[in-house]
Symmetry: C2
Subunit: 382 residues, 2 copies
């Protein structure tokens, strides 16, 4: 008989308005929600040592199936002992399905009922992703949370095209689910791992509801909202969330994919989202932008050139406490790797501080008051 | 009256053949010799946190006057409290004079008796470096060991041209010395800092001897051999060293600038050199090459793709112990920053391990035997 900690689970621990405090349990440890997952696209959170990611407070990180299947390859990672030991990260990992990045990165795609045929953006080699292959790859990598294979289309698009892709994604959801169950049976996966469904449907409330209800009928252990943060804007994203979340079960985690700014996260948590991932902290860090409790700091700005103050003397991150803005300005202006390293670290820590503060505000039953108080500061240019 | 630890000094502690064990004393701490100085060109040892440089065992690092005068600027660094606090390095720093890099990097130079007029490689702005300005910059930065301003010419060159530049460098040596003394008197420098002379003269033994003898007559607290490692080759470099070192006083440190490979360092130490600097550990690290006791490891090589062994399980460097070659191969092939970070760290640690091993072999009186034993391993492709 399996012990309970060997099974994937979610427990809702508190609520403040619609904002939810919870915990996802996995054999590799608990994930405190709301949770932000740093993005480790090709088995590294860019410019951070794995120890820095762990001490930032992150309970889980994200890997990209599309990138990893091309290099180093899923079978190779499996032979090497799985993604966790490969990249020295023993806490949970979520992998996406590859669907989104096939669309955004690869050349020459052909979408059929079976799946997507595409050419690698690295070397032009030909590959096929189907629901079955995507799940097999995610199992080979050893992902604790896996995502159904879906079709992500570019917006804006015709409603008929959005509907076609959403319906196809539902059929792929069922095939993904069957593939995952198959691998639980053949031993490539366990009940400690989980597969999430992904709600699609663009910004159309009717399509989104239909997608959500069909996925819920398939009874996934968690649900993602996909196809957002692709240029539709903050308000349209929130309106779409408002139309979807009521149709997702309260007892399962909800993951908003690819989002976002600190303000995006706060508004999504306010509506009941539990999980996020985004390249923003690391990508912005590599471009000289720091997130702080006083707002965004563009270290390229000349006003920092002789500022001996640190980014944030109260930060949990040594990178924000120990270096002067003057030095960071110099590193960024000089294009030095240490600038990317420190700022990616600072931002990764800040995002975790933000999630911890949100969890605290929910636990205290004052999320709305907290959110209204901090949002103007976070949005400022500091 | 000044305390002795406030004064710059050098003590020879042992010898094995011509190889020397010693210690340079400065108010910022001792420098164990033979010493290797990691290069922190623009106030950062590329891709390393300052804590990693310190724990590598480095007692001193090098900063580049040419780069720092252009960005962030010597007066700015001085206003910010000096180079040490700016870059968070409290052990000694040596700065070069800018002479070499004016030649190799700047556009449109005009050399006169007064100095070198040049345009910045960054923005084309016009600048002047003279012995007086070079020393002023080095004092503003707060360098513990400063270098005389010299003219570095490209080799091969006519003997008359080499002689002209060497003679000019001697006149600049005297002006550098007077400028440094001036700043000790006006308080911009202290007796805890030191100015080294630089022997020039290409690969011509007669010119080198004349340069060395003239500098020794000026009584510098240390002497560098400059103008080597510019393509003349390992044997010509060693032959030149053989022609210079007998004319340098035993009681002063000897610094071979810009050198080199592990084998270069061993052969130079064997001949009596005490100090080195080189970009090789960090530059090669950024290009996927690791130095180990078993030889050079090119991590781009496909043979590492599924090798779970670390670079060196016995290393002092966690980067060499904790990551598999397979993972490093993947990072290097993917152009990931973490690959540059880990390998620059590994190489910086390895160079310090190498210096520590040389110091141990000298202390044991068996440098030649040690060198002959390890050199073939270091030169291997592993």
């Amino acid at each position: 008989m399996q012990r309970s900690q060997d099974k994937f689970g979610f427990m809702l621990q508190g609520q403040s308005g619609a904002a939810r405090l919870g915990s996802i349990s996995t054999p590799r440890g608990a994930i405190r929600t709301p949770a932000f997952m740093p993005v480790g696209t090709v088995a590294t959170v860019k410019a951070l040592y794995p120890e820095q990611v762990a001490t930032s407070g992150a309970d889980i990180l994200l890997g990209n199936t599309y990138h990893l299947m091309l290099r180093p390859g899923a079978e190779r990672v499996h032979r090497l002992g799985g993604l966790h030991s490969f990249m020295r990260w023993d806490k949970p990992i979520l992998t996406d399905s590859g669907g989104f990045q096939v669309m955004s990165l690869s050349k020459i795609r052909k979408i059929t009922e079976e799946g997507v045929a595409f050419q690698s953006h690295l070397d032009g080699s030909r590959h096929m992703l189907s629901p079955e292959r995507s799940i097999e790859i995610q199992c080979l990598l050893g992902a604790d949370i896996q995502m159904q294979f879906d079709e992500c289309i570019e917006l804006p698009a015709e409603r008929s095209e959005i509907e076609r892709a959403m319906e196809l994604s539902l059929r792929w959801a069922e095939r993904s689910r069957l593939a995952f169950e198959h691998h639980v049976e053949d031993g490539l996966a366990t009940r400690g791992q989980a597969l999430f469904g992904i709600v699609q449907g663009g910004t159309d409330a009717v399509l989104r509801r239909r997608s959500a209800e069909a996925l819920v009928a398939m009874d996934f252990p968690g649900y993602a909202v996909g196809g957002l943060a692709v240029g539709e804007g903050h308000e349209a994203m929130l309106a779409t969330l408002d139309g979807v979340l009521p149709f997702l079960p309260a007892g399962k985690p909800r993951y908003l994919m690819g989002v976002g700014t600190p303000e995006d996260l706060i508004e999504a948590v306010r509506r009941g989202v539990d999980m996020f991932d985004c390249v923003m902290p690391t990508r912005n860090g590599r471009h000289g932008l720091a997130f702080t409790w006083s707002g965004r700091v563009n270290l390229r700005n000349a006003k920092h050139a002789e500022d001996l103050s640190p980014l944030d003397p109260q930060s949990t991150c040594p990178g924000a406490r120990d270096y002067s803005r003057a030095y960071l300005h110099h590193l960024v202006r000089s294009g030095e790797l240490l600038g990317s390293m420190i700022l990616s670290w600072v931002n990764t820590c800040f995002y975790q501080e933000l999630m911890a503060a949100m969890r605290g505000a929910i636990a205290d039953g004052r999320f709305d008051a907290w959110a209204d108080e901090v949002k103007p500061h976070l949005a400022a240019k500091a």
